[in-house]
């Protein structure tokens, strides 16, 4: 070990480059030196994950329970924002009283879920997400699109919790997630049932063959799959992304189906 290698880090981004990272990790294992120039620390001081103006605040670290709960918090923020807009929309006004009761219940439940996660995450919570009001307006403009979007959101929520439960390391957190996912499934069935009554009246859509497999299993999706679906809705404008994936073995996705 006569050679003394030195790696100079000029910026935080440099650490994310594969070659730099490899050298960085390599040097930590031997007698090398790593020099951080002051610019790195300047960048780090901006790296407040609760700052809504810092894109890094929306980058999820799913390798621990806090990250998984933030992922759930993000999804609940989306649902809460959608239903809060929905209950004053033209689509809502076109629904029957019985149908309106469902949407009104869902809005309350999702806002409660959102505020619950915000409270339990405390200082570790990601910031509030921003939403595209034009897209939300389009997705609530009439009863048909309002209900199909609601179905997609609820089925997606079920798939997200079902896919993320295995990554939680605390039994208490898993129990809380379980208490919420069954409520999301009840919502999904109710919305599907409304759509069924308006359409084919099959009596089966609440847990249709499109969402429950031949093995009797509901949908599940890995976080990356869920976030890609969320991004494709063009409702969330904040740069929500996954920085570090979950620790554990992923399973094959059975995504929430596109409402027929």
């Amino acid at each position: 070990m006569s050679t003394h290698d030195t790696l100079i880090i000029r910026s935080g981004d440099q650490l994310l480059q594969p070659t730099t990272r490899r050298r960085f990790l390599g040097l930590l294992g031997v007698a090398g030196s790593v020099v951080f120039l002051p610019s790195v620390f300047t960048a780090c001081s901006d790296d407040d994950i609760t700052d809504p103006n810092n894109p890094a605040s929306y980058t999820l670290n799913l390798s621990n329970d806090t990250g998984i709960l933030n992922y759930a918090y993000a999804l609940e923020q989306l649902e809460a924002a959608f239903y809060t807009a929905a209950i004053t929309s033209a689509g809502f006004a076109a629904l029957s009283a019985a149908e309106q009761e469902v949407l009104a219940d869902l809005q309350k439940h999702e806002v409660i879920h959102r505020e619950f996660f915000k409270a339990v995450l405390g200082a570790n919570a990601i910031p509030s997400l921003s939403f595209n009001t034009t897209t939300v307006g389009n997705l609530t403009a009439n009863a048909t699109v309002l209900l199909s979007t609601s179905q997609l959101l609820e089925d997606t929520g079920v798939s997200a919790y079902n896919g993320a439960g295995k990554y939680l390391t605390s039994a208490a957190n898993l129990l809380v997630a379980g208490k919420i996912v069954s409520v999301e499934a009840r919502h999904a069935a109710a919305i599907r049932d409304i759509r069924d009554a308006r359409g084919g009246n099959t009596g089966r859509l609440f847990a249709g063959d499109d969402v429950v497999s031949a093995s009797g299993l509901d949908v599940k999706a890995e976080p990356g799959t869920v976030l890609a679906s969320v991004v494709s809705l063009n409702v969330v404008t904040s740069p929500l992304s996954i920085g570090t994936g979950p620790t554990g073995t992923a399973t094959a996705d059975v995504k929430a189906p596109t409402p027929a």
């Binding site: 469902v102 219940d105 409660i112 919502h187 009596g203 063959d209 009797g216 094959a252 059975v254």
Partner: protein, 327 residues
């Protein structure tokens, strides 16, 4: 349908094991004849089920996990047999005869719902067996063996407080709702016991949410038949706790016994701190009825979270419907 994802959910390594095992068998290793036949015809589910039992016979599944799977299987067999009796498709003819009166009252759409639910319960039985569960309580219903008393009297001749379910649609749906809501609470209570086996945990969670979908639909049918009963939400969620959460409009001929049963189904478990009543509004130490920005009253807070039950609590609910002892 989508067999690949199902297999992956049961065990991400199962395809590898299946392939390896097939290679071993091809090379002359011993396997029971059923496995060889299933592999030969390329039937992955059948081969999976057979190979799982083969593997578990070697003791690879932890006892704690096995116990949960066996318990879940008992509940699923019960649910499956209940719906088969209602639909008139049970192996035990007296069940079909007993439910004939109420069967004639079920509207076509609701009948399709019951058929869809029964299909899922049968699938859950098959999936749990394929995952390693065993029918340890010998609950197989045959043409001569009734293992259940759907009237809640633990007797092949019935006569229990839920007998009205065989003759009255509204009462039948109350019982179905109770069974589904119990299933939701039971799976939720067992999730923590499956954490060491993530693939099995995930399969259990995916069954759990299906049970919740069932419960929601039954609640919605009941609300449409009892529009004034606001405790039955059109959103399919559970309002209130204890017997009130059932939204029961008919308590049959033994109101005290039926009320006591609903109190167990929607009430607190014996460990009330971990398994509170469905009326609970404190989650992870947070009162979810008074959160800033989310103050919608106690009822919405109750509805927003479902509660779990421990195994012993669930056994106390369902034992009256099982002739064998399942403790």
């Amino acid at each position: 349908m989508d067999k690949q994802p199902i297999l992956a959910a049961i065990d991400p390594e199962i395809m590898d094991r299946l392939a390896t095992r097939k290679q071993e068998i091809d090379n002359g290793s011993y396997a029971r004849p059923g496995i060889v036949a299933a592999l030969a015809i390329g039937s992955v589910p059948i081969a999976l089920a057979a190979l799982s039992r083969d593997a578990f016979a070697q003791g690879t599944i932890p006892t704690a996990i096995k116990n949960v799977l066996d318990f879940a299987l008992a509940l699923e067999i019960f649910e499956n047999e209940f719906y088969k009796a209602v639909l008139g498709t049970s192996n035990y003819t007296p069940y079909n005869t007993a439910f004939a009166t109420v069967r004639s009252q079920v509207p076509a759409t609701a009948l399709a719902t019951l058929q869809q639910i029964q299909k899922h319960e049968a699938a859950h039985v098959a999936t749990l067996l394929a995952t390693g569960a065993t029918d340890v309580f010998s609950l197989q219903v045959t043409s001569t063996n009734a293992q259940f008393d759907f009237t809640g009297n633990r007797s092949a001749s019935g006569g229990g407080p839920f007998a009205k379910a065989t003759t009255d649609l509204g009462f039948l749906l109350e019982v179905a709702q109770g069974a589904e809501d119990t299933g939701v609470r039971a799976y939720k209570g067992q999730a923590g016991n499956l954490m060491t086996q993530p693939a099995i945990l995930e399969a259990a969670l995916r069954i759990h949410s299906v049970e919740a979908r069932h419960a929601s639909r039954i609640r919605r049918i009941r609300r449409s038949l009892n529009t004034g009963t606001a405790a039955l939400r059109y959103s399919g969620t559970v309002r209130g706790g204890d017997a009130a959460a059932a939204g029961a409009t008919d308590l049959g001929t033994n109101a005290a016994a039926v009320t006591a049963a609903f109190t167990k189904i929607y009430g607190a478990g014996s460990n009330a701190a971990t398994f509170p009543s469905e009326s609970n509004v404190t989650q992870a130490g947070v009162n979810v009825s008074t959160l800033t920005g989310a103050q919608f009253g106690v009822e919405a807070a109750q509805e927003a979270f479902d509660e779990a039950l421990d195994r012993a609590d669930v056994v106390a609910i369902v034992q009256p419907f099982f002739i064998p002892t399942i403790a």
